[in-house]
Symmetry: C2
Subunit: 612 residues, 2 copies
């Protein structure tokens, strides 16, 4: 396991040096690819722009920060990314986490979080820590995603109903809704309902049966639904709006223009109070680890989903994600990562290369420069509807059925992760889910696969055989010992009862490889052969258990086909062990030990029976 | 794994009903056994009485509580215990934990902790939770024990030097010693030095070479060293003591007489303030879980060490421990469990049955009734010396060497547990150690044993073979997929380069069971046979990974010897899989798939080479 860290300086350097995947595809970039990328880039922008403003409010920031966060990702990823479909920008989950860790502060904290997360991701990429992603199983990911989606949707209930109160967690929000139920604004609620209906309706358009020519139009309408709903709602609000009455809660002024580049790690000066960067980092606390971790997990998962069987360069993907965050933080971005929705959209729009990010980025740039004044009239309810409809499909109910059919035990980590994420917060829930999974793995290893057999096939002298398989870990040490001790006890009993009865049983050997012979059940003896050919790992606790077996076993133990490494381990703990490395040697050794039994070549003499 | 919980009501009842192991041995109790038990019981009492007073002060309680805690264990264990050597009473580790959780309160809290721990232990015994002990590996136990011994010894440094200040943790104590170094009392320090020297000297007596008659005297002196040192120190203090000057810090008044039985779960009335039982339980907090857990772990470990190869009834041992605590709590006992030192002593004194506990208990009873006034003059330094010398041998340095030789990775949980126990407290350190161990197990499973081979032995048509072994867990899912994808890529490359070179390589098959033949390396094809006969467990994450392999593999996959359970799992996730259950079937199936290759029986035609 340690050789993962055991690399030469040159190898380290070749890993650490930045790679530019753009060099691989840029030279052969064709007009056809450019056309595909342009369409995909524009389509993604149409979803990204309304989503990003909504996610900014989810993260507790002013709307323009959403656009700032959408600006840099596409450009940087075009240079460093390997997966054409991925669009790096604000995502629901990371926005929620950003809110969790920067709640009650100002935008400088979110930008600092983006910067530090980016650094952490680059470091994780270079240090090959991407393998940590493997410690999170699918049931845990699914429970986490579903709970996060529910948490996000719940946080939007305020926006949907036109309420405003402070809340952080899932339970908090619903308690608040119940308390403030009398303040529900009818106009906002009505608009939300309308928006959601239109969104669901438009989404289902692309699944309708239609002639091929119409099919494309339907598909495009379905894809453009977020933009359409937001524009329609804004138009409605514009006409309803009067200077004195405000029937709908609006987005209001958005600072237009590009973000001015600034260093993300300066002290935060917030009018009345300033916070030094150390205090800001302390405030962000565990978020500095959780945000990059979750970003990496979801980004690798998305990249894997779109890799189409090609081996994924996870390291490169993680570094690309990190650089996007670091560069973004200089342009006032909050933490960003890939979004599954946008990636799927890009894929469906016929993306060819990561260059699609350029076009998306350009459109965001134009929006920031010219379109922000138009956003004033967009109702908050419309944005809340966009988020809610986007995340609700992330709730995966069907997986419970799948798990139940395929592997029932896997329901436990799913249920644990889901409920802990909702009750303790998504980030704590995720870690607890991984712990539950690890505990189940440990429990599995308390009863390792351990075939035990009394071999009396006529080929070898009769003996007990044990076939350990895979790894023997500390959790199973006791099981191994007690199983063998029980064997020894039952054998003594058996011999006694046999001596009393002195009856002759005839059984069939169930060994398929040798010819099937019918033999008398021999006196059960106390020779134990440990077949080690499939034994790959033994830890210290198991070694001590084996040592006790060796001391307590009333008879002889032979170790068959033990690898050199295993031999070394056994010899370190015990003395005078007998090894056999070939069938012949085993036959000879066993023959010597049970001298009353003639050597196996004349089996008829042993059994007194004729071969079948 | 779930069948552990899957028991019939009758089986549950037979487990839940209390067993009385005393019935097994009481009928045949002989005079010889009684003599052995009497000697052992008296010897243990000689160690137990001074130790228990010392441990009471370790737990932050008045001296008489140590005697109360020693009173009941022996009597109850004689009825319920199965291991003659074990003596249930105060132990260093549990006293330390009691101090951690009841520090700053009064004795009622410790008694309540004893009661609740007892209940928890009985419940754990009935629920068969003893298997949880297996989750703690030997390196973790060793790191924990060593750190606990150092923590306990450190806590006695105050007593050794005659200092008095408040401290809780290991680091706390040493910082305090440095701060208060000017207040060191010379007389106490000198006495401590003397006591420790005498204790070490007397301990080594039993290892001296001597004629047989003298040997017994030496052994007895060695065993009685705690009592001897305490008596000598007390005599010295008696003569040094004057009414006006106190050169040594003494134990002082000990309440004599038996503890009056009382309900342990009543509110604590402490002169000025009373605490309801709910508040007391909240104060004890996680101690209500940690104390029984640690008690169970150490008790089972001790019982196992003295089981001499007989199968240990761990459930019965845990229930016996629990009942000792519950009954003890009605007589003002703080939490108790077995002690390794006393058990080893009992063993060496020739104990025969658990009845030895009766005699020990009787001697404690007599002490409480008549001897307590004599304890007034025992110097605190003498008790501190007794504890320090008793725990220091628990620090196991040698294990580092053993682990390094046998299994280097196991040094990590040892080091982690040891350092975390010292820095965060023993109870947190233990849990973190288990977590580190589980994480290492997970990391191991990121690279599961996975033999990959290109089989071209002349017996079966050439094919790729993969031999998964044991369990495939989520952590390894990615590894399996990437390894197979790499195989497919390299195979495509190989075929290409081979077509270019068109050279003929001759290799030797390394299969030992079939006759060794030299064959031409055939065109590497894309038939994959998954040999499942040694595959015992697949979880959902791995199933999804297998599904991706099936979708991405450019060729055919055959599943050989999949068990019914595995087939069911595979069929739940994928469709149209090909299974083969016998060698012949596999041969036929593979033959059909690679029609260009003649059937294997005329191998010479395939290879164009003669057999060796």
């Amino acid at each position: 396991m340690l050789d993962r860290f055991n690399c030469s300086p040159r190898r380290l350097a070749s890993r650490a040096l930045p790679k530019l995947p753009i060099l691989r595809w840029a030279r052969g970039y064709s007009a056809a690819a450019a056309a595909g990328d342009l369409v995909a880039g524009a389509t993604v922008a149409m979803t990204l722009i309304p989503q990003s403003i909504a996610y900014a409010s989810l993260a507790g920031l002013e709307p323009q920060y959403g656009l700032y966060a959408s600006l840099v990702g596409g450009f940087v990823y075009a240079y460093l990314g390997t997966c054409p479909q991925i669009n790096i920008g604000p995502s629901a989950l990371i926005s929620l986490l950003t809110f969790t860790y920067t709640n009650g502060t100002n935008a400088d904290y979110a930008v600092l979080l983006c910067f530090v997360s980016g650094i952490a991701e680059v470091v994780a990429g270079i240090a090959q820590l991407g393998f940590l992603v493997q410690l999170v199983s699918l049931p845990v990911v699914s429970g986490f995603t579903s709970a996060a989606a529910l948490t996000i949707a719940s946080s939007q209930v305020k926006g949907l109903l036109g309420l405003s109160f402070k809340s952080e967690s899932f339970i908090d929000t619903w308690r608040g809704v119940v308390t403030h139920v009398k303040e529900v604004r009818l106009a906002d609620t009505g608009l939300s309902l309308l928006c959601c209906l239109v969104l669901f309706g438009m989404k289902s358009l692309k699944d309708q049966r239609a002639p091929k020519s119409l099919k494309k139009v339907l598909w495009f309408s379905s894809v453009a639904r977020n933009a359409v709903v937001v524009i329609l709602a804004a138009t409605l609000a514009y006409f309803l709006h009067e200077d004195t009455t405000h029937p709908l809660i609006l987005t209001g002024e958005i600072t237009s223009g590009l973000p001015s580049p600034r260093l993300p790690f300066l002290s935060s000066g917030n009018g009345t109070s300033t916070a030094p960067v150390g205090a800001m980092l302390r405030h962000l606390g565990s978020g500095l680890l959780v945000v990059p971790l979750v970003s990496i997990i979801s980004n690798v998962a998305i990249a894997k989903a779109f890799s189409n069987g090609k081996t994924l360069d996870a390291t490169q993907e993680i570094i690309a994600l990190g650089v996007c965050n670091v560069v973004g933080s200089f342009f006032s971005s909050f933490p960003i990562n890939g979004s599954f929705t946008r990636s799927a959209l890009s894929d469906a729009s016929g993306v060819r290369t990561p260059a699609a990010g350029f076009y998306t980025g350009l459109l965001v740039l134009l929006t920031l420069l010219f379109l922000t004044p138009l956003f004033y009239y967009i109702p908050r309810a419309a944005f809340a509807s966009v988020i809610t409809c986007a995340v609700l499909h992330m709730v995966d109910v069907d997986i419970v059925r799948k798990l139940w059919r395929a592997n029932k035990v896997d329901v436990i980590p799913l249920a644990a992760t889901f409920s802990l994420c909702l009750s303790l917060g998504v980030e704590v829930g995720l870690l607890c889910g991984v712990a539950v999974d690890a505990l189940l793995l440990l429990l599995y290893h308390t009863a390792p696969p351990l075939q035990l057999q009394f071999v009396h096939d006529g080929v070898l002298p009769p003996h007990h055989a044990i076939y350990p398989v895979g790894g023997l870990h500390y959790a199973g040490a006791e099981k191994i010992r007690s199983k063998l001790m029980k064997l020894q006890d039952s054998q003594a009993e058996f011999n006694q009862s046999k001596a009393e009865k002195s009856s002759r049983n005839v059984v069939k050997s169930n060994d398929t490889e040798s010819s099937v012979v019918t033999v008398k059940v021999p006196e059960i003896n106390n020779i134990l052969v440990v077949y080690c050919s499939r034994l790959y790992r033994v830890d210290y606790t198991v070694l001590q258990s084996l040592k006790m077996i060796v001391q307590e076993w009333r008879g002889t133990i032979v170790w068959y086909c033990a690898s050199a490494a295993l031999r070394h381990q056994l010899d370190c703990s015990m003395e005078g062990l007998r090894y056999c490395d070939s069938q012949e040697e085993l036959q000879r050794t066993l023959g010597e030990m049970s001298p009353s039994v003639p050597l196996p070549h004349d089996t008829t003499a042993v059994t007194g029976e004729t071969r079948l």
